[in-house]
Amino acid sequence: MLNQTQLWAIFDGTVITVEIAIVAIILGAFFGVIVALGRLSKNKVANAVSWFYIWFFRGTPLLLQLFIIYFAIPIIYLDSTGMTFNINPMVGAFIAFSLNSTAYLAEIIRAAIESIDSGQMEAAKALGMSYRQAMTKIVIPQTFKRLVAPVGNEFIMLLKDTSLVSTIALFDLLRTVKTMASSDGNWIYYVYAAAIYLFLTTIIQVAFDKIEKKLGVYERQGN
């Protein structure tokens, strides 16, 4: 069984894992809306910038993005200014995971907005609403229910992908148990890790199911 030190180490690793996933999903959702609106915009610059953003962050490995932020940027900074500059690994992880999830969530949000019947925008405009009013009051609120399932997906992926941060000097859940396993020569630690991952993803799955039901209340037909 685990001794107290090990228990706390696993707890700390779990906290790091959860923290990164939560920060990334929240910031990703916020900036994802902006990038999605950029993709839908008729403004060519906004459109091109968002297209390029998604192209880059979806098209390169998350691990590479993590390395760029944690390793490459300090070196570039040192070369160009002659000063040293270190990124706190936790901050580096927050940034990399948020930038990455922004790209994925932007595409999810864009698709959800486009799935809303164009008659909704027309009706809003015919009632005198501006594009902005129609988007914020009519179209985007209708996307919430459709967003829950894919955002839940992204959240679960993020939670598991946080194991990549072991490469930038962070002891997340997986790295913590791996260290224990190799020092004791005991595989049981991996079972603990699997149980914790499953416990966390179960919470997400159940919570998102509930949210989806709640948001879909207006779609229920009949008596």
């Binding site: 405009k125 207006y218 009949g222």
Partner: protein, 252 residues
Amino acid sequence: MSMVKLVNVRKSFGNLEVLKGVDLEIQPGEVVCIIGASGSGKSTMLRCLNHLERITDGEIYIEDELADKRENNKDLMKIDPVKVQTLCTDLGMVFQNFNLFPHLSVIDNVTIAPIIVKKADKNEIEKIALDLLKEVGLSDKKDEYPSRLSGGQQQRVAIARALAMDPKIMMFDEPTSALDPELVGEVLGTMRHLAEKGMTMIIVTHEIGFAREVADRVIFMDQGVICEQGTPEDVILNPKEERTKSFLNKIL
């Protein structure tokens, strides 16, 4: 004064010219029914009036104010979008597919535009909305979501929603075409009631009997132009144009 005036309006989608020079003037209180085969440009004309589509050529006046003027798809006026928006709120529109906002209750569907566009007081507009719902016979459904209403009820809510903006003209784009036959009557009844109250109305419809009964003027459109217009007796009972005759023969 005219409520709406179109001067030589043309509209193309790519190479397809849908409106080929339409002139039309509608007087206050007039009920105009537009009939014609699908693809004749009836709906497009309505949609051009409230800028859901932008015209390619011609001029549009709303209450004698220039609302759009274009030549070869060039905007000659550069009218301030806010002003366009204000002019368009004088035009209420009812769609074939209702287009109610599914995430809002019936009462919120009716009050949302006055609240966010006209900054109306919430309590005041709710009172007005309730009166409007009563008028269309749906005050008992005010807290339901649209998905729980029949098509006919949804369309009546859509009419109340448009009226809540206090429009001077109501436009109906085939308001009964998506309805089950037994639900058509209730919607036409609501529209008839509106016409009797003196509302200026432009109605694109296939309900020839209704047009005959309520219209002050019937317009027959064909291939992007107004082919024939006049009183319902003239156009529906005694059409002069061959194209009008053959259209009426097909649908009656």
